[in-house]
């Protein structure tokens, strides 16, 4: 029996798949097990196949795999959709009394448990609890103590009153008892518990929590999948710290409101996905030119245009790196896992304020909708440091006024970073503009001033390149001749793929890059390798292009753009295949 268990519930959108899956994931987390969740869903409220998958182990899990051990199937299609992941010995829990499930044939070698989910739920107090009956049945199959599920049910339903909580607990027990009594089978699954404490959260929540920790007090946004969870997390919570979430009328307003708040001195942020980034791009140039600190989060999804809104892709890299007319100084930071979503958000706010430059904080759908367990100390709030850069108040403003007593918000300093006053500070009144401007922030077309200001803004990036940490994350065998590079959420799948590869006798050095611009210089690492493989979720290999550009070396590419994230076992195979290909001959 493998150390990890792969469990899923699937059905129609509107069947309560997400909340049921979350309840089970939370029960496992509270039982001291590591959890990694993923969702298959369509962009609609009702109808269409949707599934919530949980991978769990006592060891850390970083990825999904192509194997499903226990499936709660609310529709026949759920079984079809997962046929290639089911295997001999997989358990399928279904309700044969449901009209759509009456003709279900459990595939050869698998164990079908026909449990009257709806009838049992009605016995417990209402048909709505049929998914909870199924969870009880799953507890029995996996030998998982139902008391852990109780805790999770209490957390989920306590706001609805103790009676509801008790009914749900009863529903779970009816499911458990039914399996125990009706199926005389010794299931091959045993979910062990530990005393460890874990928290369970997704990437959007980690970004939201990072924003509050970093002192973000103003968030304006327009709902868009898969970034909306950032906004929903902050709503209500940011208020406790004197902040506010504003739902704007569109993305144009969202970024401009955030810009206004940032001019007032608040740490401000907006989050969106690709289509929103397109709309925000004009103002992005203004943010950079007016030297306003702002964090703009892009939670990428499949594009272009409306694309596949609920599917994974890392296709926005070029847009984030080059988007906007003219030449726009910026930072592009891309966390590689869920806990890094928290820490890189904190870093993004510091970069924005220290260098008065916009920061693109880049996540992707896989990070956003995946929940993962972490020891709470992973998010040690005492480690959060807030660096606000060159903010000038009444006491030191004199040094930055010209001979006429005018404050100089774009003074061309040696490091490129100018002093900054916040509205309300006496003697600091100044304007700024998206027009090219002089050190006072006033429009100019003077050729010398133009060069001075362009250079000054670029100098900030140079300064940051020298003074900040742009290092990569490294895994696997540092001496291997095979180098795999990736960015964003692929890190988890690749880390697990390393184990598969090691098992096959293939050693790999894996470098996960969280900074797109500026980014670490990888030329030595690439020079040292025989094979360089760049892994990313897009069709054209945008990150691979950057690596080739930086190192003047051809790399091999593993690209996936069908809308589904990499799975660890699949990725290991892809790497093996690439290694089997001849390394490209130097161009004649």
């Amino acid at each position: 029996m493998p150390a990890d268990l792969n469990w899923a519930i699937g059905g129609e959108a509107g069947d309560g798949i997400d909340s049921t899956g979350k309840i089970f994931a939370q029960a496992l987390s509270r039982a001291g097990r590591h959890v990694f969740t993923s969702k298959d869903f369509a962009s609609r409220i009702r109808g269409g196949y949707t599934a919530y998958k949980v991978r769990t182990s006592v060891d850390r899990v970083e990825s999904v795999v192509d194997r499903l051990d226990i499936l709660i199937a609310l529709t026949e299609r759920t079984i079809d959709e997962n046929m290639n992941e089911l295997h001999e010995g997989s358990v399928i829990i279904y309700d044969g009394e449901r009209t759509t499930m009456q003709d279900v044939e459990v595939p050869e070698g698998m164990i079908g448990l026909d449990v009257p989910l709806k009838s049992l739920a009605e016995d417990a107090g209402g048909a709505i609890m049929r998914n909870i009956v199924a969870l009880g049945a799953a507890c029995e199959v996996t030998n998982f103590p139902i008391a852990n599920l109780d805790e999770s049910l209490e957390k989920r339903f306590k706001d609805k009153g103790q009676a509801i909580v008790e009914n749900n607990k009863k529903a779970a027990r009816l499911g458990q008892d039914y399996v125990q009594e009706e199926f005389d089978h010794d299931f091959d699954y045993d979910v062990e518990t530990t005393d460890n404490d874990y928290v369970l959260l997704n990437g959007d929540e980690a970004i939201g929590m990072g924003a509050i920790a970093a002192g973000c007090r103003f968030y304006s946004g327009y709902p868009i999948t898969p970034a909306t969870d950032v906004m929903e997390y902050l709503t209500g919570r940011i208020d406790r710290y004197g902040g506010k979430v504003v739902q704007a009328e569109d993305e144009l307003a969202a970024i401009n409101m955030a810009l206004g708040a940032a001019r007032a001195g608040a740490r401000a942020m907006t989050a969106t996905s690709g289509p929103g980034i397109d709309l925000m791009t004009e103002t992005f140039g203004l943010v950079a030119t007016s030297e306003t600190p702002l964090v703009i989060c892009d939670v990428m999804r499949s594009g272009p245009s409306t694309g596949m809104p609920t599917k994974q892709e890392q296709g926005d890299l070029n847009q984030l790196l080059y988007g906007g007319h003219g030449e726009i100084p910026r930072f592009v930071v891309a966390p590689t896992n869920i806990s890094e979503c928290f820490w890189k958000t904190v870093e993004a706010f510091n970069l924005a304020e220290k260098y008065q430059t916009p920061v693109y904080l880049v996540a992707d759908l896989s990070l956003a909708v995946t929940e993962q367990t972490f020891p709470p100390e992973t998010f040690d709030m005492d480690e959060v440091e807030i660096e606000r850069g060159k903010i000038v108040d009444e006491n030191d403003i004199d040094a930055w006024q010209n001979e006429k007593g005018q404050f100089q918000p774009h003074f061309p300093t040696a490091d490129g970073v100018s002093p900054r006053t916040l509205p309300g500070v006496e003697g600091g009144a100044h304007m700024t503009t998206g027009l090219e401007h002089d050190e006072l922030g006033r429009r100019t077309e003077d050729t010398d001033v133009r060069i001075e200001q362009v250079d000054k803004r670029e100098r900030k990036v140079d300064t940051a390149r020298d003074e900040e940490d742009w290092s990569y994350r490294e895994f696997g065998d540092p001496d291997s001749d095979t180098l795999v590079l990736s960015w964003g959420s692929n890190e988890g799948a690749m880390r697990e793929a390393l184990e598969f590869l090691e098992g096959e006798g293939t050693d790999v050095r894996f470098i996960s890059v969280p900074y797109i611009f500026p980014r670490p210089d990888l030329s030595e690492e690439i020079e040292a390798a025989d094979d360089v493989i760049v892994v990313e979720c897009n069709a054209t290999g945008q990150f691979a292009d950057l690596i080739e550009h930086d190192s003047l070396t051809r790399v091999k590419r593993v690209n996936k753009y069908n809308g589904v994230r990499f799975k660890a076992d699949e990725l290991a195979e892809e790497i093996e295949d690439k290694l089997a290909e001849p390394t490209e001959v130097e161009a004649e």
């Binding site: 002192g215 569109d250 509205p423």
Partner: protein, 287 residues
């Protein structure tokens, strides 16, 4: 402090490049006087300017200011005010900025009713791009891009504001300095979104909506039988297409601004040097 503030304190040392005789001179002077008369100082005032001739106002006034992208001045002003409600926020722009490219923001800013002031310099023409039709141009007004006129009725910004739930809707004429200043002052003092559409004639590209035209036709509501707190009076005046009115057309005296309803009173700029003291509670929520 207010006694020391003069309206010239709001003037920058940059000379305006508006055409001699441009209505925007009078519009800006009235804004500066109204700001000074309401006890504001340049250091606690934030002006947001749009794009167009009107947008240059940020350069000619002295205060904290941002000159942004075309049509997006209102959301900037809203963000600034919510992040620091102690600031006096004034947004200024033209008819193209406010009623064409920024029309969506206009309606939502009116609805949101944040405590700020919006002054639109309405000259019924695009001046900076040298004379094309604007959303408030007359249906038959001939321009380079509309040789036979726009052939569509002009936007009625006052009606839009009323329909969107406006709590302060006014109109003034840049050349009537005293009344214009009074009206902007009332907009500043209003608890909520103070909206003033200012007739601000373009002497170069609009030979229809001229100083003479407005002088001859304008009706001052303060001298007419008009109660600005009466919604029906406001509706009649706003929908009366035959007259050009100046004065406060509508004011909801019970207006409670968005910022106040949301309990926002302090600057969001003040934050600790690390995470909030109880921030580990946020982590524990995920148990």
């Amino acid at each position: 402090m207010s006694s020391e503030i003069r309206f010239t304190d709001f003037k920058s040392d940059k000379q305006p490049t508006w055409c001699p005789g441009c209505g925007d001179f009078g519009t800006m002077n009235g804004m500066m006087k109204a700001l000074a008369n309401t006890g504001n100082s340049p250091d606690d005032t934030f002006v947001v300017a749009g794009i167009g001739c009107s947008g240059k106002i940020g350069t000619y006034m002295h205060s904290y200011a941002l000159h942004g992208v075309h049509g997006r001045a209102l959301p900037v002003g809203i963000g600034t005010k919510l992040a620091n409600p102690n600031l006096e926020v004034m947004v200024a722009g033209g008819d193209g900025d406010g009623y064409s490219i920024g029309a969506g923001h206009f309606i939502h800013a009116v609805r949101r009713n944040v405590d700020m002031t919006y002054v639109v310099m309405d000259n019924r023409i695009y001046g900076l791009t040298k004379g094309q039709a604007s959303p408030t141009s007359r249906e038959e007004f001939e321009t380079a891009t509309t040789p036979e006129g726009p052939k569509q009725p002009p936007v009625n910004p006052l009606a839009l504001a009323l329909a969107a739930g406006g709590t302060f809707i006014a109109q003034s004429f840049s050349s009537d300095s005293q009344r214009h200043t009074e009206i902007v002052k009332q907009a500043i003092e209003h608890d909520g979104f103070g909206f003033v559409n200012v007739y601000s004639p373009c002497v170069t590209f609009n030979d229809v909506d001229t100083y003479d035209y407005f002088r001859d036709t304008i009706v001052d509501l303060s001298e007419a039988d008009h109660d600005p707190t009466d919604y029906d009076d406001a509706k009649s005046a706003i929908l009366d297409a035959d007259k050009e009115y100046q004065g406060v057309i509508y004011q909801d005296e019970g207006s409670v601004p968005f910022d106040e309803r949301e309990g926002l009173t302090d600057s969001m700029a003040d934050i600790p040097e690390g995470a909030p003291e109880d921030a580990m509670d946020l982590v524990r929520e995920f148990y």
